[in-house]
């Protein structure tokens, strides 16, 4: 049980804010990319990289490290922002996002950037990758933990449920999956396009321990992570209630901001709010 005090919470919140500012800035510079889903994931990813995970930026391939797989790979900017803030590479590099030759590919490319644990972007595949890593951890009798994040639209991929079945079957209590439950995909609300609801019941029926949390309340996320570590014999799914475009009022809950980058004016407006 890790101690949750005001100082720890404040540090995570500061990092989350810095990450959101990076996300908006780098996407504006890139001129394309996925803003809404990067922002909805920021507070959770900040908790993982600045509180929860046992990692060492100096040794990105350290065998015993915890691993994070961003299965909703289109939210790459949130991962890059976390890695830069955590010291895997310099913050200036964020401005090369999506440019020819950059290690910061439109979707995470493990070959190109230390700290990226899985090459994702094709939805549904990252969670299987995380299951594989968790299986390897068990085989090697390591106590590292594997974290993953899937989108709520991503849950429509059958592969997510194949992976879920396997994770419970192999009793992977070293695996924790966040669902970024922002309610939106590309063509509209998830409940209107192809509803994956009820999400918590589905994971429970698949044999998972299921928890819910406000995905923008750092202290609550830290608490739920604490209790997740105590679960034995099964994987944990944390369904996090989030807001797509979180932190920028004109983006919040707007489906148009799924795959749109802010222009200069919108960036300034966003940065003025992200303080």
């Amino acid at each position: 049980m890790k101690v949750i005090n005001d100082q720890a919470v404040q540090q995570v919140e500061e990092k989350a804010l810095a990450m959101k500012r990076h996300i908006v800035t780098m996407l504006c510079e890139a001129g394309s990319g996925h803003t809404g889903g990067s922002l909805s994931a920021s507070d959770i990813v900040a908790c993982l990289y600045f509180w929860e995970m046992n990692i060492d930026p100096e040794h990105p391939n350290w065998e015993d490290r915890d691993r994070f797989v961003l299965s909703k790979g289109h939210a790459a900017p949130v991962l890059y922002a976390a890695l830069a803030e955590r010291g895997y590479f310099s913050v200036d590099k964020l401005m090369s996002l999506r440019k020819l030759g950059s290690p910061l590919q439109g979707h995470p490319d493990k070959r190109k950037l230390p700290g990226v644990e899985a090459s994702t972007g094709s939805l549904g595949q990252g969670i299987s990758w995380a299951v594989g890593m968790a299986l390897a951890g068990k085989m090697d009798k390591k106590d590292y933990r594997v974290y993953a994040m899937v989108g709520d639209g991503e849950l429509e991929e059958g592969m997510v449920w194949e992976a879920s079945m396997a994770a419970a079957h192999y009793k992977l209590d070293n695996l924790l999956v966040f669902v970024d439950h922002n309610g939106l995909q590309i063509d509209g609300r998830i409940t209107e396009v192809m509803s994956p609801e009820p999400i918590t019941d589905k994971f429970r029926a698949f044999g998972w321990e299921v928890m819910t949390v406000d995905g923008h309340d750092s202290r609550a996320i830290m608490k739920v992570l604490n209790s997740a570590r105590d679960v034995k014999g099964k994987p944990v799914a944390i369904v996090a209630e989030t807001i797509k475009g979180k932190g920028c009022s004109f983006m919040e809950n707007r489906v148009e901001w799924h795959g749109t980058a802010p222009n200069r004016e919108e960036k300034e407006k966003a940065l003025a709010e992200l303080v």
Binding site: L100, G101, D109, E156, G158, Q185, D187, M194, P196
Partner: protein
């Protein structure tokens, strides 16, 4: 020259066909704004099905709809259609010879900034290998519209490869296109450039540069990769004695391979293939990537010069 992405033309053509024929059903997988099926969805909501982010189910449902008499146009990005749902296309659609037209957009590296995970450079190879599958890669908007009409009339499975990037129109609306018949755009005796998709227009430009140097090339738009217009390939091989293939696809398994298969068996002449070497794409603007991977007018001209040197 006016520009239009083939996916745009596809979206428009679907509307025309949808008005004319009641048995057309369109499916998508949460990408209707990008694949341009959204307008059809708005006008014919009863004949549009969004599968959500579930490409395998998209193809499986398409098979069922076709088996029940519908003519199905199923769309998503090329990586997720030909790649993710390959086996559903093979076993549920093609094996049963069903009337499903897989219309895949965002093919090739001109997807741009999304990067290698989203740039299918192998979809033609995959689709071409399926028995009975018709594979079409139109060069511009006008030919896309024609192709769609012909595919509607032609029973059986088909794969239509469409692009994200706006490209110059090379045809006008009175184009008469036949599936399986290449279009001879230019006559020249020294070599033949056989292209498909967005590379056809670049081949035409290259032919002008070469003409300035006294090299006269034939240019063929081989929009149908399968069934391939073998007769035309053989005739051009005989007439010009050398062939360059150009495509926005891996040099393994696509148009270049298809042409080589015919040429080597029936009338061996030197063939060079210009395409993406055996590698994945990456992020960048479409134009930068075309340059980077050598899919440029200059590179085509250079390859023709190299080809003539081997003769």
């Amino acid at each position: 020259m006016e520009k239009q992405a083939t996916r745009e033309a596809y979206g428009k053509a679907l509307l025309e066909l949808g008005r004319e024929y009641q048995d057309i059903v369109v499916l998508d997988a949460d990408l209707s704004k990008s694949t341009k099926t959204a307008e059809f969805a708005g006008i014919f909501p009863d004949r549009f099905i969004n599968a959500g982010i579930a490409e395998q189910n998209l193809m499986g449902m398409s098979a069922g709809l076709a088996a029940a008499g519908k003519v199905v146009f199923a769309s998503t990005f090329a990586v997720f259609a030909a790649g993710r749902a390959f086996e559903q296309i093979r076993n549920s659609i093609a094996y049963a010879e069903l009337n499903v037209k897989v219309c895949a957009t965002h093919a090739g590296i001109t997807v741009g900034e999304d990067g290698g995970s989203h740039q299918s450079v192998e979809d033609v190879a995959l689709m071409r290998s399926i028995p009975g599958m018709c594979v079409v890669v139109p060069a511009d908007g006008a030919s896309t519209r024609q192709v769609l009409r012909k595919l509607y009339k032609r029973s059986g499975p088909a794969y239509l490869r469409l692009g994200r990037l706006a490209v110059p129109n090379i045809y006008d609306d009175d184009l008469q296109l036949e599936i399986g018949r290449g279009i001879e755009l230019k006559e020249g005796k020294d070599a033949t450039i056989i292209g498909c998709g967005i590379m056809v227009e670049k081949a035409l430009q290259a032919s002008l540069i070469l003409a300035g140097e006294g090299i006269m090339v034939s240019v063929v738009d081989m929009h149908t990769i399968k069934p391939l217009d073998q007769e035309l390939v053989i005739r051009k091989a005989k007439e010009t004695g050398a062939i360059l293939t150009v495509e926005e696809h891996s040099i393994i398994g696509g148009l270049g391979s298809a042409v080589c298969e015919v040429v080597s068996e029936y009338c061996p002449v030197p063939v060079l293939r210009l395409g993406i070497e055996d590698q994945f794409g990456q992020s960048g603007s479409p134009d930068e990537l075309l340059q980077h991977y050598g899919l440029s007018v200059d590179k085509i001209a250079q390859k023709v010069r190299n080809l003539l040197k081997i003769l």
